[in-house]
Symmetry: C2
Subunit: 284 residues, 2 copies
């Protein structure tokens, strides 16, 4: 029987700090504001947006929604980003990705003002994450993993961490953050041979390959801490599932985050804190 | 008895390609030019500079030396960098580091024009290395490791690689390059527990922690490939030694680079190739 590491207590603790900082900003006449830029009506964007709206409201953070049609042109998208860059009332921008295929996503990311990049999508933010130097924010989901570990008193220093997945959205940044916290980090991916034996070496496992319940009982050993970043729709089970086969892995390991209600639940709390930090910097 | 992987054959193979490209550029009236910016007279800077000058001459690449006194002001250093940025005859700039302590090294690095950053010191280059996207060059020593593996037909895909060291100059970039070549990469550092057992898991070991002969026989097992990036002066032995205790490790492993004459011998060849690539881009 393992501990189920829900994200909510971590998020609540972050909110406590965030909302106090929002009050301090408001006392100075500044209302922190997140702009959400969404192209089209993808179901997972909408779900995340609902969570972000709720979290912002809870913390007293304003939200400006910019909704563009699925067939928006690159020019119109860039104009919308430019408008948010120039709007002094907006402190952070969340742009949902992936963008529709006809758009140049790299160009759109780079168009965003670095100081408003609260989800770590610009090259400047990447340089900060990679080097451990500079003002850029990490992607919120990667940071949510670290916050959940910290909140639950799980030591990273000197521990072996295995990250399954090497994406720029989550695998690479969470590896860099774990390394910055003095973990000994291994990154696995589609070309890794005998992945179960590599994952078994870990004290902390971060699953973020984006494939439903791919990581099964044979990857695990007692004593491990498992953070499951995957959010996948299972046709078979007719519900959301993680990258880890929760039902068979939970009895083996020491602690595991559920899906939903785990890492994802911390993500919007990190997002809103980033917006508040950006507002503090803009006001300082 | 293991194979001693000297850097020279790799460097010679790189030079063969580079010098042909230099000829092609000269036929268009362009002579690729490396600027070397050195502050003071540090012995290891001077040693590397001699190697770079020789390599440049061998390949028909021009060198412009900018030598500043040890007590140069930040303003004078930035002015020198600005002058090189504006000089169209200069295609790449190598600035020796560490700079003397009174100077702001981060600011100096960022002052360099990204397209002339042939040793991967700017944040733009870091974002390229981290993301695998963009035009920035990797630090030459990190890339020399990869070139030596490739030249010697050592497969990286699916292999386990352990990098000992997490510096921005070598540990982090070589880890990213190995990952881009589909190795399963683990990064060890000063906080890693039981490092010998971690290193024993590797097919490929990159030692770059910068401490003389710290990595001893107990870290290794037969079949491993060892690249020793360290260059340290041993008072005891009165000669240059690597981070690996060569004499006791060489009989155990499959192949190992010597110090000197290993990874370092490939570095200037990569540097000069970067200068030529930068000249090609500037001319295109």
């Amino acid at each position: 029987m393992s501990t189920v590491l829900k994200g909510k207590p971590t998020a609540d603790a972050l909110d406590l700090d965030t909302s106090a900082r929002v009050e301090a900003l408001k006392a100075k006449g500044v209302t922190p504001c997140l702009a959400i830029l969404r192209v089209g009506e993808r179901e997972d964007d909408l779900a995340y947006e609902r969570g972000a709206l709720k979290r912002a409201e809870k913390n007293g953070v304003a939200v400006k929604q910019v909704l563009l049609p699925e067939d928006v042109t690159q020019e119109a998208l860039l104009a919308a980003i430019d408008g948010l860059n120039k709007d002094d009332a907006v402190h952070g921008v969340l742009m949902f990705r992936p963008l529709p295929k006809h758009l140049d996503e790299n160009e759109a990311c780079e168009a965003l003002a670095p100081e408003k990049d609260v989800d770590g999508i610009t090259r400047g933010s990447m340089a900060s994450i990679y080097s451990g130097k500079g003002a850029g924010f990490a992607p919120c989901t990667a940071e949510s993993c670290i916050e959940i570990l910290k909140y639950n008193g799980i030591e990273m220093s000197g521990k072996r961490a295995v990250v399954i997945g090497r994406s720029l959205v989550i695998g690479k940044p969470v590896a860099m953050l774990l390394m910055a916290n003095n973990a000994t980090v291994t990154v696995c991916h589609s070309r890794t041979k005998d992945m179960p034996s590599v994952v078994k070496e870990a004290d902390i496992v971060i699953a973020c390959l984006g494939r439903a319940e791919m990581i099964t009982a044979d990857y695990f050993t007692p004593g491990q801490i498992v953070l499951d970043v995957g959010i996948n729709w299972s046709e078979e089970k007719n519900k959301l599932v993680g990258d880890v086969a929760f039902d068979e892995v939970e009895p083996i390991v020491d602690a595991i985050t559920p899906v939903p209600g785990g890492v994802g639940s911390g993500t919007t709390a990190v997002l809103i804190r980033h917006v508040v930090e950006a507002a503090e910097k803009a006001t300082a």
